[in-house]
């Protein structure tokens, strides 16, 4: 387990050194969405029988936590290609799976920061959140899946430019087509098809269901997320086994 501990120690120390920047980036964007959509539109609209502000909060939790956990991708990318710090992991007498697990744990920790901030916004705004215990495993599996996705992208791309392309053509559309701002079943046909390919659609449903009590098939959605996590973990480990410094 030295690999997990070593990677986690290094990454969390870096996080500590940048904590104010991470807090600011986690706080500002959801705040603007809340002001623009929650207060601007939310006062006049309701979705699936709930006030739009209440509907929006779980979407923002899903989106912002994804941004932070997937965001480790950029950090791995920079440490691989620019600062070569990632070589330290590759040289260490640890299994490559341990490196993946360490990075995933870091992604989970980083992803939890906006969750706390947005929940605080929700309570302050009186969004009527009814959080259940299901929220904890749901958030964990959501953050694990998108940390793994971040790791895979960072290991597959050849440079920072490729990384930006993946963000633009995959991650951003996924965020907008996964029920963050409005229900997937209200989307046009093609967008709805794409939404069902995205794991975020399933985690957003679960987050909404565990946070504001909307209905969803917990076992189906959780099954998809756990399956995605298992598949992505295997893919990440296999790719990392072939990565060279």
């Amino acid at each position: 387990m030295n690999g997990v501990k070593g990677v986690l120690y290094r990454e969390t120390q870096v996080l500590r050194s940048r904590i104010w920047k991470v807090l600011a980036s986690s706080a500002v964007s959801p705040f603007l969405f809340l002001v623009a959509f929650g207060y601007g539109i939310g006062r006049f609209a309701s979705v699936d029988g709930v006030n739009y502000l209440t509907f929006l909060i779980p979407g923002l939790v899903a989106m912002s936590s994804l941004n932070q956990s997937y965001g480790i991708s950029g950090e791995i990318n920079i440490s691989r290609f620019y600062f070569k710090v990632f070589d330290e992991y590759l040289l260490a007498p640890v299994s490559r799976w341990e490196i993946v697990a360490g990075e995933v744990l870091y992604g989970v920790i980083k992803g939890l920061i906006p969750v706390v901030i947005i929940l605080a916004y929700g309570f302050i705004a009186g969004a009527g959140l009814k959080m259940s215990l299901l929220f904890i495993p749901v958030m964990l599996v959501h953050l694990i899946v998108f940390s793994l996705l971040g790791i895979i992208v960072a290991l597959v791309v050849k440079n920072h430019g490729d990384q930006m392309s993946v963000n633009t053509f995959v991650i951003t559309p996924m965020i907008f087509l996964s029920g963050t701002f409005y229900p997937v079943d209200k989307m046009p046909f093609l967008a709805g098809v794409l939404a069902h390919i995205s794991p975020m659609t399933y985690s957003t449903k679960l987050i909404r269901c565990s946070l504001i009590g909307t209905e969803c098939d917990i076992w189906l959605n959780m099954g998809v997320m756990l399956g995605s996590a298992a598949v992505l973990f295997i893919i990440a480990g296999r790719i990392l086994n072939g990565v060279e410094g």
């Binding site: 030295n2 690999g3 501990k5 070593g6 990677v7 120690y9 290094r10 120390q13 870096v14 050194s17 940048r18 600062f83 070569k84 710090v85 070589d87 330290e88 992991y89 590759l90 040289l91 260490a92 007498p93 640890v94 299994s95 086994n241 072939g242 060279e244 410094g245």
Partner: protein, 280 residues
């Protein structure tokens, strides 16, 4: 006894052969310098020996045991000082060492970090952010980091590149003390002639992905002649070699061109074999 044995090691990047079937041995407790110009294949060789790069073919043995990049037991005995100053810029000197120590499962970590800080002369800078260190201090931190888990083999890739002359000499003393005090086998790459001559027990010269010659620095120089006469003719320098200084001086006396006599160096060996200067 050989600490490292390499046989027919090859690495290919696309259509380019970066290392082409090289074979060599490194004796336990010795310092071997891999000398050659940029692009000769020195760093790729080190990367394969440390598991950072996967060879296309060939074999590497440590103490007779076959090595592959997943061999954790052997990796535990290897320390690497890369060419790039890959310190964690956001972490302090202490945190850089601690992260490495955890990855390598170092016991009594705090004591060993304290020793590493003393040995590298960085004790007063332990809480300084590594990104704010000078080039020489970053280099020393990387060496301290590479030694923290007490490896029996240390790889140094261009250890003094980018350092000024005085820091370079301090670094040479540091490397010598690692070899002697810590009983560490050292393999270093360099394109500095003087560095290879000053530090190594044996020198291996690489050019265009192959080993072109190897031996002690004195032995290699003796092969071309102990004295070199540089003759400046038509804006170019031509070099002739002589076994004795007197023979060189006799030739100098017979010349109408400007010329100077000096002892041969490893660059002359490289020039004689490849027809080019090492920095060409």
């Amino acid at each position: 006894m050989n600490k490292i044995s390499v046989r027919s090691l090859t690495k290919v990047f696309g259509a380019h052969k970066a290392v082409d079937g090289i074979s060599f041995d490194v004796e336990e407790g010795s310092i071997l310098a891999l000398l050659g110009p940029n692009g000769a294949g020195k760093t790729t060789t080190i990367n394969m020996l440390t598991g950072l790069t996967i060879p296309a073919s060939g074999e590497i043995r440590y103490d007779g045991t076959l090595f592959d990049p997943q061999n954790r037991r052997i990796k535990q005995t290897i320390g690497v000082v890369p060419q790039h100053n890959n310190v964690d810029r956001d972490l302090t000197v202490y945190q850089n060492l601690k992260a490495h120590g955890i990855l390598f499962g170092v016991s009594s970590l705090n004591n060993k970090i304290a020793n590493a800080l003393d040995f590298s002369g960085l004790a007063a800078h332990a809480d300084k952010t590594a990104g704010n260190l000078s080039g020489g201090m970053k280099r020393r931190l990387i060496i301290a980091r590479a030694l923290l888990h007490e490896p029996s083999v240390l790889f140094l890739d261009e250890p003094t590149v980018g350092l000024d002359a005085s820091v370079r000499r301090t670094m040479w003393d540091f490397i010598r003390s690692i070899n002697q005090d810590k009983r560490c086998t050292v393999l270093l790459t360099t394109h500095y002639i003087e560095e290879a001559e000053m530090l190594s027990d044996r020198v291996m010269i690489m050019d265009k992905a192959k080993i072109v010659t190897e031996g002690t620095a004195a032995g290699l120089k003796a092969r071309v002649g102990k004295w070199a006469l540089d003759i400046y003719r038509n804006g170019k320098t031509e070099t002739e070699f002589f076994e004795t200084r007197d023979a060189g001086l006799e030739r100098l006396g017979a010349l109408s061109d400007t010329a100077s006599i000096r002892e041969t160096n490893l660059e002359d060996v490289y020039l004689t074999i490849t027809g080019r200067r090492i920095d060409a």
